[in-house]
Symmetry: C2
Subunit: 104 residues, 2 copies
């Protein structure tokens, strides 16, 4: 998997997951990596950035299956950021596909 392709997109994918429901980090890693290979060393720092930027809030929740889980909840600011990023991704991927599809 080309690591460079993921730059910036993983943030959108995480925000998109959180828009549907609160999630914890390990869960996010596992769900996304079914489709796109990612590592914990990528997601945990990303989640920290999202919190620093005010896009998410966090809370701890006990688990019977291991250590406590840190859940992430999308803030109003995070929803705005999600929608903005989603629009940018659509514009960008359309642009790429136009350029790739242009005939000689």
């Amino acid at each position: 998997m080309n690591s460079q392709f993921k730059k910036g997109i993983l943030e959108l994918l995480v925000l998109n997951m959180l828009k549907k429901s609160d999630c914890y980090g390990y869960e996010i890693v596992n769900k996304i990596s079914i489709t796109i290979s990612i590592s914990e060393g990528t997601i945990y720092p990303l989640l920290r950035r999202l919190k620093t930027d005010g896009y998410v809030t966090t809370y701890l929740s006990e688990s019977t299956e291991g250590p406590p889980r840190k859940y992430y909840h999308l803030s109003d600011k995070g929803i705005i950021e999600h929608d903005k990023l989603k629009g940018e991704w659509d514009t960008f991927s359309d642009g790429v596909n136009i350029l790739l599809g242009e005939e000689l």
Copy 2:
């Protein structure tokens, strides 16, 4: 335009242009930036990398409109790299769209 989104993709876009015909750097910048904003400071180093990696060869050609143009020609190795990157992009963008489209 989100700079992060472009990571790795610009290489594919340049290889894709060169697969159709030889081009010079300034031309590549102008054609791509109709659709996706890019700067010369990105493309010239990228072209240098492509040459270092053996994906392109170069030759100079006089111009009546300014200084000589450095044309880039895709090598066999470059064609292979193009096709590989194209496949990775298709897989990746499909994956992103699947994840973004998943229902709650």
